[in-house]
């Protein structure tokens, strides 16, 4: 394992395999680690973690997510109807 640096291509998301990921942070002591995030499924990982957290092929199947089905996840709490605006006096 080694720390990724910002000049390397961004990895794909280990959990949902989205190709669009972001660098959230690099270690305050330079070169130790990089934190990546996936704006699709919101998985976050650090470059120095074991492969089961960083490598899409090693990421456990039981935790993988399909980007198309994220909207089907249960919603909590339920979003209430908007109240009508107060009547103007």
């Amino acid at each position: 394992m080694s720390a990724a640096t910002t000049d390397q291509p961004l990895p794909i998301c280990p959990r949902c395999r989205s190709a669009t990921t972001e660098i959230h942070s690099t270690s305050p002591v330079p070169g130790v680690w990089t934190v990546f995030g996936c704006p699709t499924c919101h998985y976050v990982w650090r470059s120095t973690e074991p492969e089961q957290n960083t490598n899409p092929d090693k990421y456990p199947e039981v935790f993988r997510l399909n980007p198309e089905s994220l909207s089907e996840l249960p919603v909590s709490p339920v979003i209430p109807p908007l109240r009508p605006p107060p009547a103007k006096s």
Partner: protein, 475 residues
């Protein structure tokens, strides 16, 4: 009673009481910190807190874990001697719980205001965040006091809420929050979202140990956790208001201020949860952080959550027992004590006097309709008043000899249950069981319970005498 002004004072006391272990070697954020905290949880019921002073990637980060994670630490947190027996901690906790409300002390400034970041907010830069369990979706703030007010009654202090809700860091200034409908904050969210408004939120990290316990206690909607903390510590609770008018503990290490975004939901989880299983994924609300304030040299306090027992089980121990007891005892003064220590009260043991035959079964059923019992209590064991519910040897004796399964065990099918209980089928529904392990009395005449053994005369006196002698044995 003792009122700790902040986490630092409590850590000093833990150190003096030989309940704090300091690791000066460099550790990695993953897996060292969670692995060490998990290992501590395997070492018994008297383990110390652990402080990491050198964290890879940070020049000056400090992390503490297991601060509440043993009975001695729990006793010290509520201002009792570290060797206070569990049963005595329960009775003292309940005694102080009845003293509600205490008073508030509002001041203008606090140490957490020393450093303010309100541009280019990046949580990872200032908080040494880490993954606890490998299946977690990311890095969670799992020991934070989340503060909100009711937008429909903004100035009503009693409707302000302080709760420990699981928070998933999803980006430099973005946090997901688990808020299920039973939580008080869900009512604030509902009112804000019906108005179409964002809900102001403050998140306090690294607080003195008592408010964390109070924030984990299922109180009534119009009871303020700060006033309960004041009652429990015998001194007014010191607060500072944020610019939005939310009250935050004076002693916090970090304070995050932001907004819960109205009418937005996005994937949160999984997170390794209290039953020892992952939570799954849900679409939960989102908070955007606008401002981070912290001490110059902040200490980050977190809790390892895994297969019980862990620090979490101490955090939600008395905080679960006491409200169930208070609710039961107000209607049935025969109830002596409640042990709801196991997996956040999925199992509840009640000791009670019995007024007449069948009484204990009614007590068992009533547990299922207490506020906490509705969503947690799944197996209820009722024992006689002379059985200490915190002493499992005594409880198992009662189950062994007082129970005739045909007449003393019954199942109530298809009741509501916390979604995180993996036994649910379907999710949110489970069968619940009452075990009546009390001695049958008239008119419920069953068994042969006429000749129960007692202790030899003088045993109590010998107990005191030998206790002192054993304490004096050379170590």
């Amino acid at each position: 009673m003792h009122a700790y002004q902040d986490l630092r004072e409590f850590l000093t006391v833990l150190d003096q009481e030989h309940q704090l272990l300091t690791i000066t070697d460099q550790v990695t954020l993953e897996p060292d910190i969670a692995a060490a905290a998990c290992a501590l949880a395997k070492m018994g019921e008297s383990t110390p807190a652990i402080k990491f002073e050198k964290v890879a990637g940070y020049s000056d980060a400090r992390v503490v874990m297991n601060v509440h994670g043993s009975w001695p630490n729990h006793a010290l947190a509520i201002g009792m001697a570290k060797d206070t027996p569990l049963r005595d901690q329960f009775f003292e906790f309940v005694r102080r719980y009845h003293l509600y409300p205490g008073t508030l002390e509002r001041v203008q400034t606090a140490p957490w205001q020393e450093v303010v970041v309100d541009k280019d907010v990046n949580l990872y830069d200032v908080i040494p965040l880490f993954r606890l369990n490998s299946g977690d979706a990311g890095f969670f703030l799992d020991k934070a006091c989340v503060v909100s007010r009711d937008p429909d009654d903004w100035d009503n202090d009693d409707l302000e809420n302080v709760g420990v809700y699981r928070l998933q860091v999803k980006g430099p200034n973005r946090i997901g929050i688990q808020a299920v409908p039973q939580h008080d904050i869900a009512r604030h969210i509902n009112h804000a979202e019906a108005r179409g408004e964002d809900l102001p939120i403050a998140i306090a990290l690294g607080t003195e140990p008592l408010i964390t316990l109070m924030a984990a206690t299922p109180m009534l909607y119009d009871q303020l956790e700060y006033k309960m903390a004041a009652a429990m510590q015998g001194k007014p609770y010191r607060l500072v208001k944020t610019s939005k008018g939310l009250d935050v503990p004076w002693g916090a290490e970090y304070v995050l201020e932001g907004r819960l975004l109205a009418r937005q939901r996005e994937p949160e989880g999984p997170f390794g949860e209290f039953p020892g299983y992952y939570s799954g994924c849900h679409n939960y609300p989102v908070i955007e952080i606008d401002r981070i304030s912290h001490r110059k040299d902040p200490i980050y306090d977190s809790v390892y959550v895994g297969r019980p027992w862990t620090e979490l089980d101490y955090l939600q121990a008395m905080t679960t027992c006491a409200p169930i007891f208070v609710q039961l005892n107000s209607e049935f003064p025969e109830v002596v004590a409640v042990n709801a220590l196991y997996t956040h009260g999925l199992v509840v043991i009640v000791s009670t006097k019995t007024r007449y035959g069948g009484f204990a079964k009614a007590i068992g059923l009533r547990v299922l309709t207490t506020t906490h019992g509705l969503g947690y209590a799944k197996i209820v064991i009722v024992v006689d008043a002379d059985v200490d519910p915190f002493n499992l040897n005594e409880v198992m004796w009662a189950v062994s000899v007082k129970v005739n399964p045909r007449g003393d065990v019954f199942v109530v099918p298809n009741l509501a249950e916390n979604l995180l209980d993996p036994a649910c089928s379907p999710t949110g529904i489970v069968d619940k069981m009452i075990i009546d392990a009390t001695t049958p009395i008239a008119p419920d005449i069953r068994g042969n319970y006429g000749q129960e053994l007692d202790r030899p005369p003088g045993t109590a006196a010998w107990l005191d005498k030998l206790g002192a002698l054993v304490k004096g044995l050379p170590k």
